[in-house]
């Protein structure tokens, strides 16, 4: 597997252009990522090549997974034995590996705990998609914001929320990151700027746009030195939702520092992306709104990281938003309640061979960045972290009744004045949770 890669924008050849007046970019144009900037000057709508849509939902042949011609060339030039042009250093590699192993081990433990009856409701696991989360979030600073969907455990972990806090939250304990009030689908952390965790798809994208707006506002109105970037993660199903399009428009209009990351895992519960979308190539929706659209192999953390560097860099420099479509796959069902019967086993097997963790391991060992034993050591360490998180969650207390009326309002006088003329929040029973509200 080619672990070396850089994201590229590839224009599919336009078969026929109804607009003869315009000059479309007809031939394959391979543009290096740094020319994202040039993208806005190409507003042409390129007509899709006819695609063979197989009912098993395999990717259409015309979607070109990005591969690195640039980096391959570099490698050929140099002596193959010494590889000074590796994409990552040893420390970076170990960090990425550790983060992905944490994501995977944590999610596997969630499944175990769910079936043991320690957590309830809807739990959506991220197995298989770790490369996207690690690839993007590990490039961020603490002040940068991340907005996710219900599949947010690993985004929270990558952003820095401790495994203990996330696990307790899933168990519904007071020590959870949201005091047990949010649950699996609402992971928030003010400290780490994890802005959630939203149950309805598309709900988080405007919130991310708002966070990016704040960055711009701070820079331009409050004159603070602010280059914070926001990342919005969402899936392929969301890309047919109105909020997605509305936010793409607003982000480009005001050149907000945001990156829209599409985790295209081909399935929205049981709805295949190809069955629900008129043009399945989501990256094309970026240029329609005037922002670069990039497609990248989301099973390869290094490719994702290269694209992420460019997109985040663009946003930090104030050049505006980017839409990144990551081709990825979830190894488990949509949620732990999903029997996952619709997906073709052959498709699952195909993507299992592209497991991002195995791929990174192979890259690191082949390029002598780390030894097997070092990586095994990391795996062991993570196992202990996850076990510790479970223990912590188990030992933590469940919320008391007194927590029931807290946090509904930032200012609890919002509960109003009771019939006796006093604020309801001043009622002595309020702190017990038994006041009449």
């Amino acid at each position: 597997m080619a672990c070396s890669a850089a994201g590229k924008i590839i224009h599919p050849p336009s078969i026929n252009s109804a607009r003869s007046a315009q000059k479309p970019h007809s031939s394959h144009k391979i543009i290096s990522p740094s020319a994202f900037l040039g993208f806005t000057s190409q507003p042409d709508k390129l007509f899709p090549v006819s695609r063979t849509i197989s009912s098993t939902g395999r990717r259409s042949a015309t979607v070109m997974a990005v591969s690195s011609d640039v980096v391959k060339e570099k490698k050929l030039k140099n002596a193959p034995s010494s590889a000074p042009n590796l994409l990552i250093t040893k420390e970076e590699g170990l960090e990425l590996y550790e983060d992905m192993i944490l994501g995977r081990a944590f999610e596997d433990m969630c499944a175990q705990m769910y079936y043991r009856g320690k957590m309830f409701g809807f739990v959506h696991l991220y197995n298989g998609q770790e490369a996207v989360s690690t690839g993007f979030i590990k490039l961020l600073k603490k002040e940068d914001c991340v907005v996710s969907t219900y599949r947010d455990h690993v985004h929270a972990l990558s952003k820095g929320v401790s495994a203990r806090a996330v696990m307790s939250e899933l168990f519904g304990k007071t020590t959870g990151c949201c005091r047990g009030q949010g649950g699996s689908m609402h992971m928030f952390s003010k400290e780490h700027n994890m802005l959630g965790g939203f149950a309805f798809i598309g709900e988080g994208i405007p919130v991310a746009t708002g966070a990016a707006f704040t960055s711009k506002y701070k820079r331009e109105v409050l004159k603070e030195d602010c280059d914070e970037v926001t990342l919005a993660f969402f899936g392929d199903g969301t890309c047919n939702n109105g909020q997605f399009f509305e936010c793409l428009n607003m982000a480009t209009l005001w050149k907000l520092p945001i990156v829209f990351v599409v985790e295209n895992n081909l399935w929205a519960i049981g709805m295949s992306h190809l069955r629900s979308t008129s043009d399945p190539q989501i990256w094309k929706k970026g240029p329609a709104f005037g922002m670069p659209g990039v497609h990248v192999d989301g099973m390869d953390v290094l490719k994702v990281r290269e694209v992420a560097k460019e997109a985040i860099g663009r946003a930090r420099r104030g050049e505006g938003p980017t839409l990144v479509e990551c081709e990825t796959y979830r190894f488990r069902g949509h949620s732990l309640a999903d029997p996952d019967e619709l997906r073709d086993p052959a498709e699952k097997a195909h993507y299992a061979t592209r497991d991002p963790i195995t791929a990174l391991k192979k890259y690191m060992t082949e390029n002598n960045l780390a030894s097997e034993s070092e990586l095994k050591g990391i795996e062991k360490k993570i196992d202990e972290v996850v076990e510790d998180a479970v223990e912590f969650g188990d030992k933590s207390p469940v919320p008391a009744r007194s927590q029931l009326l807290e946090n509904v309002f930032a200012d609890p006088r919002g509960f109003g004045i009771g019939p006796d003329g006093k604020y309801r929040c001043e009622d002595p029973k309020f702190t017990e949770g038994t006041a009449q509200v």
Binding site: G182, A208, T209, G210, A212, Y217, K218, V221, P419
Partner: protein, 283 residues
């Protein structure tokens, strides 16, 4: 906006146009295009954007060009504005103000004439206020902006062109009816409820204890309106002080028609109020 640089306005046509009802006239010239943001027509998204901005430190005031358009933002108002402080365990506050003019008057037709308080009243975590005079509109707006809680502020379309201290239509109808009643020898006490959620049951309670008869007049629909909630609340809390069942006069459960005469008959008129009071007092 002068005192707090983090206060900004977002909405359709609030900037260069000055607001569709000129509420934000000249603000863009003074404060700039980013602080008085002209948004594209995407209510759900720009309300969500306001919420995201509020979570990260700005205090936006969102204007729905017409209250009915806030329906398009219902997802964001209900799930994020109302509940996000709670689901984040208190980590993020949403100090937004969402305001919108609504109501019947000048025949705007069914969809533009809606009074939507009753859709929003069940959302936990938001406060709702309605202003009835230009005077209390200012006070309510200032308090709403200062509040850390999300506030939805309902305004009346008809209020906007008033320069004097003339009250809104329903209050005006009620005051007219009250004058008639006073002339007939009754002694009505009129309470103008400005806080729709939470209700000010203390003031209402004191009045009930004095008068023992309650008539609720509103512009919401009969079914599920604010009046219905208020009837339940008063019954629960002041049951023993009531001599008669509570009567609630509301708009008819029909879309507001275009024709002027029909429009007039959907809302409560002063003679109806007078008749209702007389009937109450005879019981």
């Amino acid at each position: 906006m002068e005192h707090y640089p983090r206060v900004c306005v977002m909405g359709e046509d609030v900037g260069h146009y000055g607001g569709s009802y000129k509420v934000t006239k000249d603000l863009a010239k003074k404060f700039g295009d980013l602080r008085v943001l002209d948004t594209p027509i995407a209510e759900n998204s720009f309300t969500g954007m306001a919420i995201g901005a509020a979570m990260t430190g700005i205090r936006p005031v969102v204007e729905g060009m017409n209250m009915g358009f806030l329906l398009l933002a219902f997802n964001q108002i209900s799930d994020n504005c109302g509940m996000l402080h709670y689901t984040s365990g208190g980590q993020f506050t949403i100090p937004t103000v969402i305001r919108g003019p609504g109501g019947v008057g000048r025949q705007p037709g069914a969809e533009h004439s809606q009074m939507l308080e009753f859709y929003f009243q069940s959302i936990p975590g938001i406060q709702m206020v309605a202003c009835s005079t230009p005077y209390n509109a200012k006070g309510l707006m200032k308090a709403a902006i200062r509040s850390e809680n999300p506030v939805v502020l309902f305004e009346l379309v008809l209020l906007y062109n008033l320069k004097e201290r003339i009250p809104d239509e329903m209050r005006y109808h009620v005051m007219q009816a009250a004058k008639t009643l006073v002339n007939k020898g009754y002694d009505p006490e009129v309470i103008d409820i400005r806080s729709l959620k939470p209700f000010d049951l203390y003031t209402i309670g004191n009045s009930v204890k004095k008068t023992h008869r309650v008539l609720i007049v509103e512009e919401c629909m009969r079914t599920g309106g604010i009046g219905a909630s208020l009837t339940a609340a008063i019954n629960e809390n002041f049951r023993y002080y009531l001599d008669t069942p509570i009567v609630c006069l509301s708009s008819k459960d029909v879309p507001a028609p275009y024709a002027g005469t029909l429009e007039e008959w959907t809302v409560v008129q002063p003679p109806q109020i007078v008749t209702a009071v007389e009937q109450l007092c005879e019981l």
